[in-house]
Amino acid sequence: MAHASAEHAHDDHPDQPATGIKRWLFTTNHKDIGTMYLVFSLIMFFIGGAMAMVIRAELFKPGLQLVDPLFYNSMTTNHALVMIFGAVMPAFVGLANWMVPLQIGAPDMALPRMNNFSFWILPFAFTLMILTFFVPGGAAAGGWTLYPPLSIQGGDSFPMVIFAIHMMGISSIMGAINVIVTIVNMRAPGMTLLKMPLFCWTWLITAYLLIAVMPVLAGSVTMLLTDHFFKTSFFNAAGGGDPVMFQHIFWFFGHPEVYIMILPAFGIVSEILPTFSRKPLFGYDSMVYATASIAFLSFIVWAHHMFTVGMPLAAQLFFMLSTMLIAVPTGVKVFNWTATMWRGSLSFEPPMLFAIAFLFLFTIGGFSGVMLAFVPADFQYQDTYFVVAHFHYVLVPGAVFAIMAAVYYWLPKWTGHMYNMTLANWHFWLSTIFVNVLFFPQHFLGLAGMPRRIPDYAVQFADWNMVSSIGAFGFGLSQILFAIVVIQCARGGKKATAQVWDANPRGLEWTLPSPAPYHSFQSVPEVK
């Protein structure tokens, strides 16, 4: 085929990566960029996790032992921002970079230069954010939700955080545009939309969400900035504005954002379960429609985060009902996954273990979500550890476990080596046990009346906090195993076959040798 000859006109030989640091700085290769995203995400997960360890250490027992209350607040704020924008989202973009072209049979992402740009913005954005710890007044401490007027009280860190968020937003939008264009424009002939692997589908829909809401976040933080520096009155009642207006705009972004962090996870689980059940995914079409419905509904439920702000009754009822509706398409997914395992032939390799844990624990998080949706009950739950328990269940054994499942699933395809299964199994069991020790007691704490975002608490909360902290340290230490497995695997190990798993996985990525060649699908694959 006469392909790719054009590339010779440029710089180095196209079939080999450039050498040294230049490879990573200048690369336009989706695999390189995917790898950078994933490594970055792992580093951020450790940084955000270290902050969580400070939180849990301070909460280990009542009384202030370790940190100043203001520093504690910066810990929660930055923990959340780092985990969401630094760990989970980049991990998904990294997986998309690696897998979307492989799964749809494309030679690369559609806009490769922009792809590199969207990655490299991130280290700079987070440098800016981490630097806030060293400026007068300390790092942002108003919560990741940045509610004014509190956030506007911030010191020199205030504009730094805002601009860091702007940069993350620019990065996400470019990343999302790339995914959309790649999926819509670069599919191999025969790969119709309804033949696409679900990971691509969920990412396509996620990308639409990203493009729709990241600019809104940018707008909302820009208004914070002008309120602070240029005397505007968006969030100031004296000038005719309203602090609650920020919350509306923020959550218009914020709620779809939480589905941005879970839809790709749904996609991953929908890839892994069929493989290790040795049975096609049950209800493929309804999975696609359910994903789309969740995405649509996510735009009309935002005010369930603000039931206590004093909205008109009709608004509260509307947001309660629309929120409850989301349980229906999500339920369809859970039932389809269960039906996929039903009458299968299950084996329990690490990716499958993580996917199964996801199934159980995400569902528990979903249940507490539905309970939060009942407005009267939410008047009690809101801003307590019940909410903290809810969202960590959907985010940690939800999103993070799915990411780990994906890494364990595709790592041999990326590196060409099998990893240490024993260690991976240890990682799974320790994580799964400790994550429950960590977060399950937080339900009790919340119901018993412990508010979130406090560095110290009344003594009746002491017991469960201690249990939770012990779980946290255990969970944190277990993650070191993950890093070890991944690093070992990158450096060597038993050769992986093209199929990797003896479960006969479906999908174009398994037709390529392991490791996938630097330039895959230069000649267009055929899809039946």
């Binding site: 006469a2 790719a4 054009a6 200048f26 939008i173 959309i180 264009v181 208004m223 505007t232 009642a237």
Partner: protein, 295 residues
């Protein structure tokens, strides 16, 4: 290097090794760092200059690389389609950015101001806090914030400059469409003329807008600090004005490319992208004219 063999219909052009993305990241960091330093008073306002210079360089370098590749015929139709979709979704993201500010405007008008003046669910708000506030739009809030000692301010009447500006933008929409049709028909002379007319109209618009701002600040008592009206007015029109300026600059660049003989009647993605952008800016203006100036 010779590019004779470059174009082949079935190969999707993948560039290799580009320094511009990382340069762009450093640029953004410098720009944001400059803005932060200026806002925090760490450095005087010139701290923004390096970032802006780098930004200009970034655009020049990156776009000339792309234009060069295009001129060498490296892009097949699939690449062209990718660019189109990319541009479309970029414009959509811009729409959502404006939506945030329009949302703020509607919220303030329909909810915040009425609540502050005791309507709807918030009767006690007026009774206990803002007893003598009778809110009606336009408003600078119960404390009547603004530059004037007595808290008064005036708005820009819709039928003055804003109406003229509306006419200008609508006319520019027509001229760019004529230019586009001329390009497709291969009448390059017409293209040059109507494209030039378009960006001149664009710059005129920006000039008028600057005059309007000047008047608002010096005579009407209308500033960014004039309560919620001033906030929404200047943020919406300001971001729009920035987009018009950017669009007009892009049109100018396209005009220079036309002068140098770029584009064919079949393939002229850059032209179309800028035209879409221009139409987007136009539509946003219509929204502004209706909801900010008129109603």
């Amino acid at each position: 290097m010779s590019d004779a063999h470059a174009q082949s219909a079935d190969s999707y052009y993948i560039p290799h090794g580009s320094p511009w993305p990382i340069f762009g990241s450093v640029t953004l960091f410098t720009l944001m760092g400059g803005a932060i330093s200026a806002l925090n008073g760490w450095l005087p306002a010139w701290s923004l200059v390096p970032g802006f210079v780098m930004l200009c360089l970034l655009f020049i370098f990156w776009f000339s690389t792309v234009i060069g590749e295009n001129q060498r015929g490296l892009y097949n139709l699939a690449v062209d389609r990718s660019f189109r979709m990319g541009m479309m979704w970029f414009i959509f993201s811009e729409v959502m950015f404006f939506a945030a500010f329009f949302g703020a405007l509607f919220y303030a008008r329909e909810l915040a101001v009425p609540w502050l003046s005791g309507n709807g669910v918030k009767v006690f708000t007026k009774m206990l806090l803002w007893n003598d506030y009778a809110g009606s739009w336009p408003s600078n809030g119960p404390s009547a914030l603004g530059p004037r000692a007595n808290g008064s301010f005036e708005t820009v009447p819709a039928l003055g400059l804003p109406a003229i500006n509306t006419a200008i933008l609508l006319a520019s929409s027509v001229t760019i469409t004529i230019a586009h049709h001329a390009l497709i028909a291969g009448h390059r002379g017409q293209v040059k003329f109507f494209l030039a007319l378009t960006f001149l109209l664009g710059f005129t618009f920006v000039g008028f807008q600057a005059m309007e701002y000047h008047e608002a600040y010096t005579e009407l008592g209308l500033t960014l600090g004039t309560g919620i009206y001033g906030s929404t007015f200047f943020m919406l029109t300001g971001f729009h004005g920035m987009h018009v300026t950017l669009g007009a600059i892009m049109l100018t660049v396209i005009w220079f490319r036309i002068m140098r003989g770029h584009f064919t009647p079949q393939r002229h993605f850059a032209f179309e992208a800028v035209a879409w952008y221009w139409h987007f800016v136009d539509v946003v203006w219509l929204g502004l004219f209706i909801f900010v100036y008129w109603l």
